[in-house]
């Protein structure tokens, strides 16, 4: 791409959709149709590069790919397709990605119609002042009802139905029309090419040779290699070593011009200095105002992560450091547990983030890990007048030294079909939520606003919300404030011994129910041992619940057909391996999932 694209021929857009409506297949189809990637090189869902992204069908990192489109009007357009994370944990990252666009393709499944996440995605895009191109996908399916869905788009989302394009990500039908619609419906970028450089950082990744590489959108001015620049919020100067675009392989360019999206090689070795949402400008001649909306990514959820075998403690530390390189939001400090030995208390953006990191640690670094129940950051006001932040139940001071405890609250929004309002209300009551407002968006969807403690949300709220609304509800939230709550520490005793790693902080009114539920759940999870294992829940010295894992009575007595002793021996060795993956505490072997049992306690 040697020729510079006229700004009027640039289109920056995201593709957004309810889960499984076919966002990634449409992205892939666009890459193919614009000859960015040859059909034979297509791996499914090309933009999701991590294994975990491809397997789970979720996008974790933002990604921007440039494709050149020869439109029917004879012009060649520069399309910058910005892929956004698809989970509420990454709402901030999504908002930054959308801020880099002028348009959004809103994908709606022709067989399912408008769903809750379609609405919330549409609202996000509208709030970001984006031009929306509705795309009705999967029209190749026999059960497709494009006309009904077209009506829904107009009724529920108040988008002009005539703009909707019918496509099939599977067959490629209609993708050409979609590209044409993007040309006509999405505005070209506006900005001042001669003003001091102003570029928004959408995401970044670490390259072992070149340091941190940032994905940026240029709003004013331009970026060229050799420029002395600065990250405004981080106040970090750097020398721009290279600029370019992904197609989807990196292709260096002379310049990223006003309105364009691409990458900037910063040469910086510390990923923490390059923050999503920060603004890049010239060191000597900075822009007047940074891009709006920046804030520090703050960990919301904390959990203890321990190697099952303590000799792998250093390996775990190394692994965390390696992951942090591409995920600066990851923070941790050493933690010691009587039961689990040495490990780390790790902070995450949310539950999915936690799951993904744990899975990557185990898979990419071959570690056997135990994660303890997630906690939030409690503000504990002590009788001596000081306040400490507590992210681990073990660190909670004795009750007599606590004046009061405050916990983080969220402002949350659920969008749900009217039929499920009652179910959501009940869920809110169960989770200490306080309803603040309710708006009927249409006769098909209601927006419910409420305040809820973060601690409630990270337990099982999201799963419950999905199951009680048959998957229709979508959830958004943001931090509100700290509020005083009546909280206690619930301890778990196995065979009479307190297991510190199983303790958690809970609202007093829920302690009994949860204590009972947890004892029952642990009874299911902990396998029978040679001896009976009593499980007790306690607040302070008071036992509030109990259950018992019965003693193991009889194991498999396999027949040694024809003297096949080897086979029997292999079974014994397999059994031993299984035990190794458990944590021995006292005489009790505890499986990894026991430490997350609190997430699996049913509310009933």
């Amino acid at each position: 791409m040697s020729t510079k694209t006229d700004t009027s021929l640039i289109r920056n857009f995201s593709i957004v959709a309810h889960i499984d409506h076919g966002k990634s297949t449409i992205s892939d189809r666009i890459l193919e149709l614009t000859h960015t990637v040859a059909a034979r090189d297509m791996t499914k869902q090309l933009l999701d590069s991590m294994d975990i992204e491809q397997e789970r069908g979720i996008t974790i990192k933002s990604n921007a790919v440039r494709v050149m489109y020869d439109a029917d009007d004879g012009n060649q357009y520069q399309f910058n397709l910005i892929d956004t994370p698809g989970h509420v944990d990454f709402t901030y990252e999504v908002s930054r990605s959308l801020a880099a666009c002028e348009g959004a393709v809103l994908v709606v499944d022709a067989t399912q119609g408008v769903e809750a996440q379609t609405v919330s995605n549409a609202l996000l895009a509208m709030n970001a002042n984006l031009d929306i191109v509705p795309a009705i996908n999967k029209i190749d399916l026999p059960s497709a009802e494009p006309e009904r869905v077209r009506e829904e788009i107009e009724e529920v989302l108040a988008l002009p139905a005539d703009d909707a394009v019918c496509v099939s990500g599977k067959t490629g039908e209609g993708i050409h029309d979609l590209l044409e619609s993007i040309v006509y419906l999405v505005s070209p970028p506006e900005g001042d090419a001669s003003a001091p450089t102003k570029a928004l950082i959408l995401d970044s990744y670490f390259d072992a040779y070149r340091g941190v590489v940032a994905t940026v959108r240029v709003f004013d001015g331009s970026i060229r290699a050799g420029m002395r620049m600065v990250m405004m919020a981080a106040n970090q100067p750097f020398l721009c070593e290279e600029v370019g675009v992904k197609r989807p392989l990196e292709q260096p360019l002379d310049e990223l011009a006003m309105g364009e999206v691409g990458y900037v090689v910063t040469g910086l070795k510390d990923p923490a200095l390059v923050k999503t949402g920060d603004t890049i400008t010239l060191e000597q001649n900075p822009c007047a105002e940074p891009c709006p909306g920046y804030h520090e990514a703050k960990p919301m959820v904390f959990t203890g992560i321990f190697p099952i075998d303590n000799k792998y403690y250093e390996n775990l530390r190394d692994a965390l450091e390696k992951l942090k390189v591409n995920d600066p939001s990851l923070v941790w400090e050493p933690e010691t547990s009587v039961a689990l030995g040495f490990g780390f208390r790790v902070g995450f953006l949310g539950l999915l983030h936690m799951e993904v990191i744990k899975e990557r640690l185990e898979r990419e670094f071959d570690l056997d890990l135990i994660a303890t129940s997630p906690s939030v950051d409690y503000h504990v006001y002590k009788t001596d007048g000081t306040m400490i932040e507590v992210t681990s139940p073990q660190d909670l001071p004795k009750p007599e030294n606590i004046e009061h405890i405050e916990e983080p609250y969220l402002k949350a929004t659920v969008i749900v079909p009217p039929d499920y309002v009652g179910a959501v209300m009940q869920l809110l009551i169960d989770h200490r939520g306080i309803s603040t407002d309710m708006v009927y968006l249409s006769d098909k969807s209601v927006e419910m606003h409420f305040d809820i403690p973060l601690a409630e949300l990270i337990l099982d709220f999201f799963d419950q919300l999905k199951s009680r609304t048959k998957g229709y509800a979508s959830l958004d939230y943001e931090f509100a404030d700290y509020r005083q709550s009546d909280l206690v520490k619930l301890d778990i005793l196995l065979s009479g011994e307190e297991v510190d790693a199983l303790s958690f902080i809970v609202h007093k009114d829920k302690a009994y129910t949860l204590g009972r539920g947890l004892c029952d759940k642990l009874k299911e999870i902990i396998p029978r041992q040679q001896f009976e294992v009593p499980i007790q829940g306690a607040i302070g010295n008071k036992i509030i619940s109990r259950s018992t894992v019965k003693a193991h009575r009889k194991d498999v007595l396999a027949k040694c057909y024809g003297g096949d002793i080897s086979r029997k021996r292999k079974l014994l060795e397999k059994q031993k391996e299984g035990k190794k993956r458990m944590k021995s505490i006292g005489k009790v072997d505890i499986p990894q999932e026991a430490f997350l049992a609190v997430l699996k306690v049913d509310d009933e």
Binding site: R528, Q530, H552, R553, K554, D555, V556, L557, A558, K559, C560, Y561, G562, G563, D564, I565, S566, R567, K568, R569, L571, L572, E573, Q575, K576
Partner: protein, 393 residues
């Protein structure tokens, strides 16, 4: 000097096993190598011929000179028919001059009277009948071919034939109740058999039951049920004068199965046929390898070699591992092992966990230890150091 002329006893194995991998129908729980076919399948004759020829070749090499016990197992050996089965029995008797016990396994549906009358003539001493249960509803669930009446008739005929008779029973199976198990046990005892083997059903991968129940822990196979039934079997059989000499085997005075005991006491054995396993010393291994040329050459000195023909695997055990294995296997027997041969820490652990107790200078399994066999044997095997070296071909 050729190897075959060497008279040293280490050349000969102590036991011979011949596997007949054919059945009329595959049972729902069975994961052993066997394929369902009809009795007149020509493949069966061809298979028999090749086993007979192998037996002769090994005999010529001296491998069977000191062999004391032989066992024809299945599958279903009786699918060979009287002629085929007697040919095999006769050949084994013919080439093993020291033979004290020759057992053939039988299924009630293919065990006929001519077999029983001919067996002793040809040299068999013992028949082991796969009865499993004497309740029709249970047999049907197991996909057994025979019904209870047939089983009873055949067991009675076998007892009358003068052969030593063993019966295999299975507990913790679908439809079984404590009462029906009691009935089966009492009926078997009433028929005057010499030996009874009792196993709880294990749900194995790759079987019909595996597909239906694996990981589901059906109540009929619950570990409490297994424990209760195994204890009930012990009580009924001991009351009737049978002695439990091995975790799963009960025998009347003088009727213990020598071949069974050989497996647990470090006696070398040669296994022939599809699913057979062998345990050999290095010299025996080289002799077997001179016939089965695909077996890998062994460079290192090792005291114990195990071959799995089906798994195409040879295991080389160090003397350390062989000792641990002997201790592990010894705990299947009522007499256990010599206390002094068990490291003190292991002994203490087993006694503390009530898996074993001392009796004179022996460390013997407790009832609890036999029920929790994997704990008991696993602890013994833990004495072994390092992984077992494995070669495949």
């Amino acid at each position: 000097m050729s190897l075959t002329n060497n008279n040293s006893p280490v050349e000969s194995v102590g036991a011979l096993y011949v596997h007949i991998p054919f059945c009329v129908q595959k049972c729902a729980y069975c994961d052993f190598a066997s394929s369902a076919t009809c009795a007149d399948d020509p493949a069966i004759d061809a298979y028999l011929a090749s086993q007979l020829s192998d037996i002769r070749r090994f005999a010529e090499l001296g491998l069977l000179r000191e062999c004391k016990t032989a066992y024809i197992g299945g599958g279903t050996p009786t699918i060979l028919g009287t002629k085929g089965l007697m040919e095999l029995v006769g050949e084994i008797r013919n080439v093993c001059p020291q033979l004290e016990e020759l057992t053939f396994e039988a299924n009630p549906d293919t065990l006929d009277d001519t077999m029983l009358t001919n067996a002793s003539t040809y040299g068999a001493t013992r028949v082991s009948i796969g009865v499993q249960s004497l309740e029709d509803i249970e047999l049907k669930e197991l996909r057994r071919v025979h019904d209870a009446q047939t089983a009873q008739n055949k067991v009675r005929a076998a007892v009358a034939s003068g052969l030593d008779v063993s019966v295999d029973l299975m507990c913790a199976i679908p439809e079984q109740t404590d009462e029906s198990w009691q009935r089966t046990l009492l009926d078997v005892v009433g028929m005057g058999v010499d030996h009874v083997s009792v196993y709880p059903l294990a749900i194995e991968e790759g079987t019909e039951f595996g597909r239906l129940y694996l990981g589901m822990q059906p109540t009929w196979n619950d570990e409490e049920v297994q424990a209760r039934r195994m204890i009930a079997a012990r009580d009924v059989l001991e009351e009737a004068g049978y002695c439990r000499y091995e975790v799963a085997s009960y025998a009347k005075q003088g009727k213990r199965c020598l071949h069974n005991i050989a497996y647990w006491t470090g006696i070398t054995y040669l296994g022939l046929g599809t699913g057979a396993a062998s345990m050999l010393n290095p010299r025996q291994y080289e002799l077997v390898r001179s016939v089965y040329c695909k077996l890998p050459h062994i460079h290192d000195e090792c005291p114990r070699i195990r071959i799995s023909l089906l798994g195409r695997e040879v295991e080389l055990l160090s003397s350390d591992q062989a000792t641990a294995e002997d201790l592990m296997l010894g705990m299947r027997l009522v007499d256990g092992v010599a206390s002094e041969s068990v490291p003190a820490s292991t002994r203490t652990k087993l006694i503390e966990e009530k898996l074993a107790r001392t009796e004179g200078n022996r460390l013997v399994p407790t009832t609890r230890g036999w029920l929790l066999g994997n704990e008991l044997y696993g602890t013994m095997w833990d004495i072994a150091k390092g992984e077992v070296q494995t070669l495949s071909w």
